[in-house]
């Protein structure tokens, strides 16, 4: 008999063998992920937006640098609930039975509240964390200038306060017969 998912906690994962409980594993995936997808909704219509982001461990929050005005902002102003995900795809795993074809992956799903950061210094810190992640070989004051207050005013930073997360993984033995990476030119 199928579960009624509408009444289950939002973090419930159907297929238990794929669950990763370890917080360190989840954090590591969040730190190394190049981009994430944030889902918001507006009057029943879901939206998914791809963004660069940084995971701030001390604040347990996700920061993204986005537009002053736009869909994301408009949506969270009426409903601040969001879902955020990062995923890595591994090898494809062929099988004699077609419905048993599988794929390796690692993913994290986050539930939380989204809001725009208004405080100037909080904004500055979040933007610096983004620069530290995406340009770790470049240094502020050496390779690029510090952010002037004026610039900070016309910039908006979007934060997701993390309430819950889940990790999921499917990994096959390295010698899985016929495993291959996905390539398409």
């Amino acid at each position: 008999m199928s579960k009624d998912y509408a009444t289950q906690p939002r973090t419930d994962i159907r297929f238990k063998p794929r669950i990763v409980e370890e917080g360190a594993w989840i954090k590591a995936l969040l730190h190394r992920a190049g981009f994430g997808v944030v889902a918001t909704s507006h009057e029943g219509q879901p939206f998914a937006t791809n963004n660069l982001f940084v995971y701030d461990e001390p604040a347990h929050a996700i920061y993204m640098h986005t537009a002053q005005v736009g869909r994301l902002r408009a949506n969270v102003e009426t409903d601040e609930r969001v879902c955020f995900t990062v995923a890595e795809m591994g090898r494809l795993l062929p099988h004699q039975q077609p419905v048993e074809f599988d794929v390796e992956y690692k993913s994290v799903v986050i539930f939380g509240h989204g809001h725009m950061i208004e405080d100037r210094e909080e904004k500055r810190r979040a933007l610096q964390l983004l620069l530290d992640k995406y340009a770790p070989h470049l240094k502020v004051g050496v390779d690029y200038d510090e952010m002037p207050d004026y610039d900070l005013k016309r910039t908006s930073v979007y934060a997701i306060q993390i309430e819950e997360w889940t990790g999921k993984q499917n990994e096959a033995p390295s010698d899985f017969p016929g495993a291959f990476p996905y390539h398409k030119d």
Binding site: Y5, A28, P46, L52, G70, R73, F101, V109, F180
Partner: protein, 194 residues
């Protein structure tokens, strides 16, 4: 004055200079993308999951093949509207001013209702399309047994009817000064956490 996004079409792109109207480009990207993220909702709570998928150009739909029962199913049974997103990240583009840093990317967002495919023949065809995309070097009947309708009862095929889509892209000159891939610098960042 900012636009009221609540009143605009879902596929409205704010940065019109980044919008891609070339439908052939959108289709090509849907054909080559390895995974897509499907956003659905339940009583206002958004959910998002990442899936293998195939774009069926003839039917103008997206098929995913997942669990028979699960969150996606219960969500779309109550509210069938969905958003499906694919993206590729290119090079990071440094600048002398921190806030001018940028990134190359290509992205497509698709909007439409999701239907659970009940017809066994259609499910079988959709599964074969997925296999043809992901395992083009393997042939049914030779490398694996062709899908049979009976086994599809244990799984579910979801069909997103494409109502609207938008494409978005930013590409810099190949010789953009200092451009680099995140992949090439990421360990400089993550080393502090290991």
């Amino acid at each position: 004055m900012p636009k009221d996004y609540a009143a605009l079409a879902p596929n409205e792109v704010r940065r019109s200079d980044r919008a891609v109207d070339d439908e052939a480009w959108i289709r090509a990207m849907l054909h080559r993308a390895p995974v897509g993220a499907l956003a659905t909702i339940n009583e206002g709570q958004p959910f998002i999951n990442t899936n293998l998928f195939v774009y069926d150009e003839a039917e103008h739909v997206i098929y995913t093949h997942t669990a028979r029962f699960g969150r996606t199913r219960s969500n779309v049974e109550a509210e069938n509207r969905a958003c499906f997103s694919i993206s590729e990240m290119g090079r990071l583009l440094p600048a002398p001013e921190a806030l001018e840093f940028s990134v190359e990317y290509s992205g497509v967002a698709v909007f439409g209702p999701v239907e659970i495919v009940e017809d066994a023949a259609e499910s079988t065809r959709a599964l074969q399309l997925i296999l043809d995309k992901y395992a083009p070097h393997l042939k049914p009947g030779t490398d694996y047994r062709p899908p049979v309708e009976e086994e599809l009862k244990r799984t579910a095929v979801y069909k997103l009817h494409i109502e609207s889509w938008s494409g978005k892209r930013k590409v810099a000159d190949p010789d953009f000064p200092g451009a680099y891939l995140f992949h090439d610098v990421v360990t400089l960042y993550t080393d502090q956490y290991s």
